[in-house]
């Protein structure tokens, strides 16, 4: 029983992070019609940059903002690459373009950053500095940070989308882009805003990965992107609520599988479960805008 609670707790933590990833990706999809296959790679390369800054300067705050800044900048750099293809409505090409960007980022990490070796963050950072134990159940300070950060982000995002003019404009675009256009809502500006928000969210995600997992490797990028996509499919493509629900479901399934099964099977089984759900309910659990 205790073990179950421990697994559930871990699942909530990773689930929160997955939700953030899915929301970032879903936002880009509904506002800008882009599936950013490079999202996870941007998160991980921001982790690398944070590690570099930390190593060079020893300043935590600088490193944190460095991570945030780099993810925003990278996300914004990708946007103009996609503009031409989006206008011509070339869907496959857009997907492949983002895949290519992701692969380039992974290659950069594999060859030019820390000579391709995995990076590890110092123990003072990982775990957030402190943990509480209830028998088998260990709750690290980092876990609390994750939950708090996720809540804060979700609330801010909600406020932005539902209580501000620009946010409502973004929602209008996600529901009916033709009408939004007729109303004179500037689509390019909305796209840029969505990319900035996604960039910020990926930066925070990087920070959260740092305090929970504490290590990163070049392959992690594609892995994270892939999990993000799985959650998107699970919750319904483009559905922000679905992203939240799906994220937690994946997080919990993964932790349960890791806890109860031996071997390397965890990811494969989690993937398998998701595939089954997608096949049975192609619209995703919540179903969504698309």
């Amino acid at each position: 029983m205790e073990a179950l609670i421990a697994y559930l707790e871990a699942g909530l933590v990773s689930g929160s992070i997955y939700s953030l990833i899915a929301i970032g990706m879903n936002l880009l999809l509904v506002v800008s019609d882009v599936i950013l296959f490079a999202y996870g790679e941007i998160v991980v390369i921001s982790m690398y940059l944070c590690w570099l800054i930390l190593k060079l300067s020893g300043n935590y705050l600088l490193a944190f903002f460095g991570a945030l800044g780099s993810s925003v900048i990278l996300t914004l750099l990708v946007e103009p690459l996609l503009r031409g293809l989006r206008e011509k409505r070339l869907v496959v090409e857009t997907l492949v373009m983002t895949i290519a960007v992701g692969m380039i980022l992974t290659e950069i990490m594999a060859h030019f950053l820390n000579a391709g070796l995995p990076i590890a963050f110092p123990p003072s950072v990982v775990g957030g500095g402190g943990e509480a134990s209830f028998g088998l159940i260990k709750i690290a300070a980092a876990d609390v940070y994750v939950i708090l950060a996720t809540l804060a982000l979700l609330v801010s995002l909600y406020y932005f989308l539902f209580k501000t003019k620009q946010g409502k404009a973004l929602r209008a675009i996600s529901y009916n882009i033709q009408v939004a256009r007729l109303l004179g809502i500037p689509l390019q500006k909305a796209t840029s805003i969505s990319f900035i928000i996604a960039g910020l969210m990926s930066g925070v995600t990087a920070a959260l990965f740092i305090v929970t997992i504490g290590v990163a490797s070049p392959e992690l990028g594609a892995h994270v992107t892939f999990k993000g996509m799985a959650v998107m499919l699970l919750g319904g493509m483009g559905s922000l609520k679905g992203g939240v629900v799906g994220g937690y479901i994946l997080g919990i399934i993964e932790c349960l599988v890791r806890g109860y099964f031996i071997g390397d099977w965890a990811d494969a089984i989690a993937m398998g479960c998701i595939m089954i759900i997608i096949i049975l309910r192609p619209g995703g659990i919540i179903g969504g805008a698309r």
């Binding site: 599936i35 690459l81 031409g84 293809l85 011509k88 070339l90 869907v91 496959v92 090409e93 997907l95 492949v96 373009m97 895949i99 290519a100 960007v101 692969m103 380039i104 290659e107 950069i108 594999a110 060859h111 594609a222 892939f226 996509m229 799985a230 499919l233 493509m237 071997g263 390397d264 099977w265 990811d267 494969a268 993937m271 398998g272 998701i274 595939m275 997608i278 096949i279 192609p282």
Partner: protein, 284 residues
């Protein structure tokens, strides 16, 4: 005969041509199907197991491997056919990963290390040449047939094609089976030539190559792949070691540049017909 080095190179190029064609085919029908990669793994492992462990003769292992991957794609196609393009892309990527993990955890297939000492094929170059010729003829005929036109219609606008009477599901199933089988063909050739097989043998690195070849070489016709795959593979061979590290970054960058400026790839239908016309003028 040819030095081993050259032989290996030709075989590898063949494998990539076949793999890329296996991608190219569903893409013509509007699908991003990553099946070739895990089908290659499936056929490779099958052939390796039956020839090394069960001692079956190589030709049977060869054909068996191809058939095995074909059957697997057939089985999977029922699940995959109704998916949207994005879902199909993601699920087939997941399958690459799942297949790798499965092989990694199955001890009787060698686990993490895989199997080695697999017998080779004599006259492997002839096998390669025959495979390529057969496939290119097949793809070319397909392009010009009714099927080819139907595929183009689906690629352009799925709903409209469906409204015009194209059976999308059936087409999807057929494309997957053929694609998977071609992937399987690539897989057995590669495995028998290499002599070993391991879980990571067919994975995302190959995916990147194939995407580059197809999206840069040409999405419209099979000739793009045929011409471009050797170029893509051979040119880096002539680079000094230092630059070799850059290879994947360069590939990624090339894909991006081409997508920006020439989304259909270097060699597309208009180019081919233009070449055809100039040659006809010359004859006359």
């Amino acid at each position: 005969m040819l030095p081993i080095y050259a032989e290996n190179l030709l075989v590898t190029v063949t494998v990539f041509i076949l793999l890329s064609w296996a991608f190219y085919l569903p893409l013509r029908g509007g699908q991003l199907f990553n099946g070739p990669v895990f089908c290659a793994a499936l056929s490779g492992y099958f052939a390796a197991y039956v020839t090394k462990v069960l001692g079956w003769p190589v030709p049977i292992g060869f054909v068996g491997g191809v058939l095995f991957s074909g059957i697997c794609s057939f089985g999977l196609s029922f699940i995959l056919a109704p998916l949207t393009m994005f879902q199909m892309a993601v699920v087939t990527i997941a399958l690459i990963f799942i297949v790798q993990t499965t092989f990694r955890n199955l001890e009787f297939l060698g686990g993490v290390i895989g199997m080695s000492g697999i017998p080779g094929i004599e006259n492997i170059l002839i096998v390669c040449a025959v495979s390529i010729v057969v496939c290119v003829v097949f793809l070319n005929r397909l392009d010009k047939s009714r099927w080819g036109r139907a595929m183009e219609a689906v690629e352009r606008d799925r709903d409209m094609a469906s409204a015009m009477g194209v059976d999308i599901t059936k087409m999807s199933v057929v494309l997957q089976i053929v694609s998977g089988t071609m992937g399987g063909l690539a897989g057995v050739i590669y495995t028998f030539n290499l002599g070993t097989v391991h879980p990571e043998i067919f994975g995302f690195g190959q995916l990147l190559y194939c995407y580059t070849i197809v999206f840069v070489g040409g999405r419209d016709t099979p000739w793009g792949t045929l011409i471009f795959a050797p170029i893509l593979w051979l040119i880096p061979e002539f680079f000094p070691k230092a630059i070799a590290e850059f290879r994947n970054v360069v590939f990624g960058a090339i894909i991006i540049i081409f997508l920006l400026f020439r989304p259909k790839g270097v060699i597309d239908k208009t180019l081919i017909s233009a070449l055809g016309r100039t040659f006809r003028f010359r004859k006359a």
